[in-house]
């Protein structure tokens, strides 16, 4: 693990007093505490760094070791012992750790961040709710048209989940008691699932309404008639009024997306007609159009 300059982390000089350390820590903790920076991974990481620095520098003994041994301060005693065993032989500490493992260097600090509780949790008897877990579930728009069940594996545990129809992209649902274990006998945390919904259909969705464009032949637009259009759950027949204009919008009530947690309620489907003019006209067609043009 790379050397971390705790003084730099807290923005203080190596000569900083205990009061200055505490002041710097408080200031940075207020800035980066997970409770005031929800869903901000960068702030969370920064808060962990600040907490780690404070844990070391606010303890006089640890600070002394850190100042002397740098990144290997935790192994200071072993290092000293080894030096003594080697008698009078001259040894120069070059900061390489003398073969001591440093892989667990930061593990010491990890447990105290899980609940976003700062440095107060260690060794205390205060009960706290466990860490809230966050997960992202990727679904297709078609998946959320109907309520369905799905089994998710979160931290090695299978959770059978009912996904209500109409769930929105970016929506977060909370599942109580499926987060991390509580601290000192506190209740379990919650699981927050954020839905990321991809849309590969020809429909655009805004909340519970769906939007689609339908090509309409020019003759049908002028003379009127019937057409069949796709909705999200099948085809419907529509009557086209004579002299329908391009970009005309029609609303199909109740043919939109299901309303979240309101069984049997649906939004609307808005269809915009795009009138297609014929191409590759024959001479006869051109002649007839010219005749029509003269009539206007």
């Amino acid at each position: 693990m790379a050397f971390i300059d705790y003084y730099k982390t807290l923005g203080i000089a190596k000569t900083a007093t205990d009061k200055e350390i505490k002041k710097a820590y408080r200031k940075l903790a207020r800035k980066y505490h997970p409770d005031v920076n929800p869903n901000d991974e960068t702030a969370k990481k920064k808060f962990q760094e600040v907490n780690e620095a404070n844990e070391v520098l606010s303890n006089a003994e640890n600070r002394k070791k850190y100042d002397k041994y740098g990144k290997d301060w935790k192994h200071a005693e072993e290092f000293e012992k080894q030096r003594q065993q080697q008698g009078n032989q001259q040894q120069y500490y070059q900061g390489q750790g003398g073969g001591f493992s440093e892989s667990d260097y930061s593990d010491f600090f990890e447990s105290m961040f899980s609940g976003g509780m700062g440095g107060r949790s260690r060794g205390g008897s205060v009960k706290f709710k466990g860490q809230d877990f966050n997960a992202e579930l990727h679904l297709n728009l078609k998946d959320v048209y109907k309520t369905h069940k799905r089994t998710l594996t979160i931290n090695g545990k299978n959770i059978r989940l009912t996904i209500p129809a109409g769930v929105k992209n970016g929506q977060v649902i909370k599942i109580k008691g499926h987060g991390g274990p509580g601290v000192n006998g506190g209740p379990k945390g919650n699981l927050h699932i954020k839905f990321s919904i991809a849309n590969h259909t020809n429909f655009k969705r805004d909340k519970n309404n769906l939007y689609a464009t339908v090509d309409l032949a020019m003759y049908k637009a002028i003379l009127g008639g019937d057409i069949t259009v796709d909705t999200f759950n099948g085809k419907v027949k529509l009557k086209i009024k004579a002299e329908t204009q391009n970009e005309t919008k029609v609303k199909l009530k109740g043919k939109g997306f299901p309303v979240y947690k309101k069984e049997g309620q649906f939004g609307d489907l808005y269809i915009t007609y795009k009138i297609k003019t014929p191409t590759n006209l024959t001479d006869k067609e051109k002649e007839l159009f010219e005749e029509l043009a003269k009539l206007r």
Binding site: P38, G116, V126, K129, N199, K204, K207, Y211
Partner: protein, 98 residues
């Protein structure tokens, strides 16, 4: 009203090791709503998560009750803005690839 959903304040004081005045002050500024059930002051269990946050802010960050009130109001604003942002992004999809 399910009484089991309400937790006595004195129990919360023991669990979180805070004074009862802390809860009374939170109640006074409107951050929590203390309900009296069978002559006991109680808090609904749905508020526990927020209360834990308030305790952490108070003890870890030395933020006073007024400060917690300000932070919570701002966090609520952030939440609303995030919801609006997601709704706007979803809406923008209607105009994408047109």
């Amino acid at each position: 009203m399910e009484n089991q959903e309400y937790i006595p304040i004195h129990q919360l004081c023991t669990t979180y090791q805070v004074e009862i005045t802390f809860f009374n002050e939170l109640n006074e500024v409107g951050l929590i709503e203390i309900t009296t059930i069978a002559e006991k002051q109680c808090l609904h269990q749905d508020n526990i998560s927020d209360v834990e946050k308030m305790i952490r802010m108070h003890l870890d960050l030395e933020v006073n009750i007024q400060g917690i009130d300000v932070v919570f109001n701002l966090l609520q604003k952030v939440d609303k803005l995030q919801e609006k942002l997601i709704a706007t992004e979803n809406r923008l999809r209607i105009y994408e690839n047109d």
